[in-house]
């Protein structure tokens, strides 16, 4: 049963497409790497999936997946590090979907929070204010929050950029664990070797979809070259797109 279906999907900004005519399905329990050069539309696609960006054309069908069921880690989280809040409370935010505005946090919830903090290796950091965390520690904390969210679909936008090797390895273990738990995981990544080693399925995106399928078949030198040749800038003199809509 598919989780997400893209029908002739075009997403973009001020009528310029950043994702152009994407078709395809994301199956339940898939582990998909989204690969492409900078400006290829990976973040834009994720914003469309999460619902922050409305399509310019086409549609995204979420089969029985509500907004609550999708956990999203953006590329550059807009977090105010000077705010007086500690790691424990930040991770506890992941319970919003379950507890809402007023729900109290019970014993089971506390256990989940502590287990998540331990799973990312941040035991002992519970009382630290977020302003005192390093980049890697911050990322671990955000992963802990994702764990607490307990979502069916997890969308990660370049989760390992500027993170040290040990943290990446630890967080990658979590991704493998989610896959084993039959959650659907999409991750935008730049490290091709990592993708080949861990991800069975890849979408190669360069504004238009270049290839989508098993990683071995998609990440060929020809396909990668084709993606690399994509023009990054929007064409200011472009005409209205004449590709027929379905």
């Amino acid at each position: 049963m598919p989780e997400l279906r893209f029908r002739n999907l075009t997403l973009g900004y001020e009528r310029h497409p950043a994702v152009h005519h994407l078709d395809g399905t994301v199956r339940n329990g898939a582990l998909i790497a989204v690969v492409g050069p900078n400006g290829a539309g990976k973040s834009t696609l994720f914003k469309g999936i999460v619902g922050t960006l409305k399509p310019l054309a086409g549609s995204i069908e979420r089969e029985g997946v509500a907004a609550r069921d999708i956990a999203y880690l953006p590329q550059v989280p807009d977090i105010d590090r000077s705010f007086p809040i500690n790691v424990y409370d930040m991770v506890a935010m992941g319970l919003w979907g379950a507890r809402g505005l007023f729900g109290g946090i019970g014993g089971k919830d506390r256990y989940a929070i502590e287990a998540a903090i331990a799973a990312v290796g941040l035991t002992g950091f519970e009382g630290r204010t977020i302003g005192t965390l390093s980049g890697g520690q911050m990322q671990r904390m955000l992963f802990a929050r994702l764990l607490v969210q307990d979502a069916r679909v997890i969308v990660l936008d370049e989760p390992f950029t500027a993170i040290d090797a040990r943290t990446s390895a630890d967080l990658l273990e979590l991704v493998r664990r989610w896959h084993a738990e039959r959650r659907t995981v999409l991750a935008a990544l730049h490290d091709i070797d990592l993708v080949r080693a861990v991800f069975p399925e890849t979408l190669l995106l360069a504004r238009e979809p270049v290839a989508w399928g098993s990683t071995r078949e998609v990440l060929t030198p020809e396909a990668l070259n084709k993606a690399r040749r994509m023009c990054e800038a929007f064409d200011e003199s472009a005409e209205a797109c004449v590709v027929a809509a379905e």
Partner: protein
Amino acid sequence: MAPFVDFEFMRRALVGMFALAIGAPPIGVFLMLRRMSLIGDAMAHAILPGAALGFLLAGLSLFAMAGGGLIVGFLIAIAAGLISRSTPLKEDASLAAFFLISLALGVTIVSLKGNNIDLMHFLFGSVLSIDNAALLLILGITSVSLFVLALIWRPLVLECVDPGFLRSVSRAGGPAHVAFLGLVVLNLVGGFQSLGTLLAVGIMMLPAITSRFWSRDVTGMMAVAVVSAVVASYAGLLLSYHANLPSGPAIILVAGLIYVLSIAVGPFGGLIWLVLPRRHLEA
């Protein structure tokens, strides 16, 4: 202690100020954390023409002035928000424009009917002339304010720290923001009678800004803010009584003194720790 024991008007002023000192500083803490400190100031001025209109229509009637202030305050908060969403202006610029216009408009309206003394009361308050009706109003405002704050606590905190996350899990962000602005206006109207438009925001912001030096979590900051507001109210009223000074400014001056002391010796970020460094820890 003597003036509070002997004089009922002093007792009423004290109770009124204590109520304000409990309701307003928590709002001020959030204003500060959301980098909206000056917006509180601007909104305080925006209330003036509404209160002045109430005064024009019904004289020094508390309910006319408070009602007028509330209505115009809400309208300006909403208008500034709308303008910042649909024109190139950001909220700080559009509010700045509004508050300057409001201040001039309010002063003009008051001078149509009132005299200089009325104007002084508008701008700087007259906490010693709080009657029972005004006291009830302030107590009511404080209660409503604390209740609503508890209600919108989670979205408020989240919107400060991680607005992207809030947007992805809930649609409460927008309504919570509007409710918060409403609380700001409400507390400013509450403080308007005691401290006047120019200083009402003082009891909201000064204790909150002070609390930054004494605590590292939001609840702790609120507790410190409330305590320093209470102390400032008590000491300020006493000072104004014994030294024969106007009471509103006296209260704010004491709050200001507490702030300066906190900059000097506050545990978190106080200047004294730069001058007397301590040895670093083992691990």
